[in-house]
Amino acid sequence: MSKSTSRKLNLTDILVTIVVALVFGLVFRLLGPVYDLVKPFGLQLDQLIYGFWFIAGPFAALLIRKPGAALLGEAAAAMAEVLFGGSGGIINFYYGVVQGLFSELIFAAWHYRKFTLSVAMLSGFAGAIGSFVIDLFYGYLADLAGWNLILSIVFRLLGGAICAGAFPAVLVKALEKMGVANLVRPVSKEDYDVLNK
């Protein structure tokens, strides 16, 4: 198959994104009960690992490097979680779409040209902000005591940047070394330079 130069998602991109999302969806499903067990302590410590819920979006974008990958990845992961009957139910799908959209916006802001650690962390950070949008409607946030609210926001944004930004960046870097990532990357300028040598 020829590696297309177009920036549209082709079949390979879609399939790889969805499969990766399923892996994460499965992890979400397995992690869910563990996470629910940590929750009761009430001090919002669970927010630190909340970031793992936004991981699929930034990961897919870092891997595929095309517009739409982050949104598709996060939405598919959320959809998988709903279909596996994850706790929280149908709302997870909405969370996924909004988080994916926010992560996507960060990559779009750099015109899908910059995929560095800092951009990835910003993307995870944006995913966390996306999750707050729905939380606000859900009523998790309104009327919490001030210190508790701030604790929750700080922990989640931090967790988002690390778990959903830095961690996928490390993973993708390792996959690049393993030679897996360039199976799905669009052809870059350097690839053409190699041909011209």
């Binding site: 198959m1 079949l11 994850g86 009523g139 993973l171």
Partner: protein
């Protein structure tokens, strides 16, 4: 999913899957804007009855899922109950301050989680993946590439599960189970990388094979399964409308609590 759904003859399986998905999505919006505690209590009861009547799981599994859902719902409300703001304080212990207002709000949030979980379970327990994605293509015009991509990915799940077991065994044999934060990070990374690398390679090979057979390269196509509409869809809309309206009416007739407006957005 297929194996754990006991009796697939139940009428909820015969509803058009896209329609079911859209209706359940819409219900989500409805209960997100309800801030009347009584309505939520009644709606939760009615949806519980509906779930018990129509779900496709075996009795034992659905019982444990209900217990799990209750547990999750209770704890989704704890932060609000313990740390929410309010003036009529009932209980105070260091940072924990429980007031009437926070208790009502927390209960509402818990009930929301409960209802959404039940809706998710109704959807998950009565939908088979193949008709669901075929219906998405036919009724909602989801591009064929995406729907078949999802179906192909679903077929890879058993392989992923098997791989997971293999990796675990391989690590056990090599004595890689160490304790500590750093070892845990290394372990998560090792699992993730092995699973991801294999999945990406497999997905890429599958896509190449599909394109070699000219998958989705032509505009028009036919479907092996034609998903249509039936009387069940009407019945389903009727039942859902009855449950929703029933919840609102019952909360008007038999208000169980004095809290009719507990959350300001």
């Amino acid at each position: 999913m297929g194996e754990i759904q006991g009796n697939t003859d139940k009428w909820f399986f015969k509803i058009n899957p896209s329609f079911k998905f859209l209706i359940i999505d819409a219900l989500f919006i409805v209960y997100l804007v309800v801030s009347n505690l009584n309505t939520m209590i009644w709606a939760a009861c009615l949806f519980l009855i509906l779930y018990l009547a129509v779900n496709g799981f075996s009795a034992r599994l659905s019982f444990w899922l209900i217990i799990l859902t209750l547990w999750v719902s209770v704890f989704s409300s704890t932060a609000m109950i313990f740390f929410g703001q309010g003036t009529h304080v009932l209980f105070r212990w260091y940072l924990v301050v429980i007031s009437e207002e926070s208790l009502a709000r927390g209960t509402l949030i818990g009930l929301r989680t409960f209802i959404f979980s039940l809706l998710g379970l109704i959807m998950a327990s009565t939908s088979r993946p193949v008709p669901f994605f075929y219906s998405l293509m036919q009724q909602l015009r989801v591009p064929v590439k995406y729907a078949y991509g999802c179906l192909a990915a679903f077929r890879m799940l058993p392989m992923m599960a098997e791989e997971f077991v293999h990796i675990r065994q391989a690590m056990k044999v090599r004595g890689l189970r160490q304790k500590g934060i750093k070892a845990m990070y290394e372990r998560i990374k090792r699992y993730a990388l092995a699973m991801l690398a294999q999945s990406i390679r497999r997905a890429q090979r599958t896509a190449v094979a599909m394109e070699a057979k000219r998958f989705s390269m032509t505009e028009s196509r036919t479907y092996y399964y034609e998903i249509g509409w039936s009387r069940m869809d009407l019945l389903f809309s009727g039942v859902i409308v009855a449950v929703v309206i029933g919840g609102f009416l019952l909360s008007g007739w038999f208000p169980l609590t004095p809290y009719t407006h507990v959350i300001d957005h």
